[in-house]
Symmetry: C2
DNA sequence: TCTATCATGTAACCAGTTACATGATTTT
DNA sequence: AAAATCATGTAACTGGTTACATGATAGA
């Protein structure tokens, strides 16, 4: 399983997380993810989706639960999450959330953070906060010493942008950590699905 | 050439830009880029570097300029930039700099922006500023309507982070655009190489 | 002298992208 | 009825990563 978690790509994880909402066939995943604008986080194309699904299947994280057919359209295979797949979702998020990298992985982990208990998320994000602060300090040190050694300003623009973005992220994280302490802040998966949610599912199912 | 520019990866572009400083063999590129901490921007491994160099060669963007040998160490091939390769650097930066995506490509384009004239960079970054503002507006609209339709707050965390980072980037860009208007802000490649620069080159050459 | 690490590179594998295929439905 | 688009998927290509190879030097 360690291996599974390591090899999981952002799209792979989002597919697993999606299957926690119910069994689906790949085309439905594509539509639902596009409806929700998950393509902000990962590129979604037919090729990538089918490719990803077949790797998840081979890894035993999902399983076929039958083939249906709608009118005379091509058959389509519906997939379900295995127990292993379900475990892997939490483990992946747990691993990505505290890391300092500002990567596609982190954005996905944050978007899927509600798959973990709220207190664990708070702890993981605190770790990330510390890691980002360390990165910031190191980068600022490098910038200062480059400046002192006479590196011209036009070569330092990118570092300065990086510092600005890092600062904003840290400030944002501080805000979130505070909000998460408030018991009024909602968490987890709502027990009664909203209208909007149901409408989305239906639209995607067709 | 259009095609060349499109297919160029961030590492490929950085290799081309590096070769504007002089002919080099791949291992030297690896060392020099690591010294300069370019591995903040792109992953640098042996495999990736040699792979990239061989693709640049095949595309005619670089050429072999001889094989040397140091003592009994393995032979090594030195590469030089072709005219086509040199053109492609500017064209790639010109294309990436105004885009709204906050991708590895943009960071590399910014780090290599000094390969273009300062006024062109100002114009390109202004375009990006506008594109980011548009993205921000759209994202904020999506967030508001999701909120109004009752999407619980724990599902909106990632969007909020995205908005915070976008805001910081726009503010940073405004600062840069202002600085670039000041004729005292330095630009271009310094004519007399600094000590630090020479020391780096030497250390990387070995 | 044995072992570790450096210098330099090759090759196989793996994930993502692009292009295409095929029949069904909808639009003109 | 022709053209466009949708639904569903396959296959080939391309770029990046990992693992390995080989001789040279340096340190214990």
């Amino acid at each position: 399983m360690t291996d599974d978690v390591d090899r999981l790509t952002p799209l792979g994880l989002m597919v697993l997380a999606l299957l926690r909402e119910g069994d689906m066939h790949p085309y439905e995943m594509i539509r639902l993810m596009r409806l929700r604008r998950d393509d902000r986080l990962v590129a979604i194309t037919n090729g990538t989706m089918y490719h990803t699904v077949s790797r998840l299947l081979k890894a035993g994280l999902i399983a076929e639960v039958g083939v249906d057919r709608d009118g005379n359209r091509p058959e389509r295979t519906t997939y379900t999450l295995t127990d292993a797949g379900s475990d892997v979702v939490a483990e992946w998020v747990r691993r990505q959330l505290p890391r300092a990298e500002r990567s596609p992985e982190f954005r996905v982990a944050l978007a899927e953070a509600h798959n973990l208990p709220r207190d664990e998320v708070r702890a993981l994000l605190s770790q990330r906060r510390a890691a980002l602060a360390a990165t910031h300090a190191e980068l600022a040190g490098g910038h200062r010493s480059a400046h002192e050694q006479g590196v011209p300003a036009q070569f330092l623009l990118e570092v300065e942008r990086d510092l600005a973005v890092l600062t904003a992220e840290i400030a944002w994280l501080d805000g979130v950590l505070e909000r998460l302490e408030d018991p009024a802040f909602p968490w987890g998966v709502p027990t009664t699905p909203s209208e909007r949610y149901l409408a989305q599912r239906k639209a995607a199912r067709q």
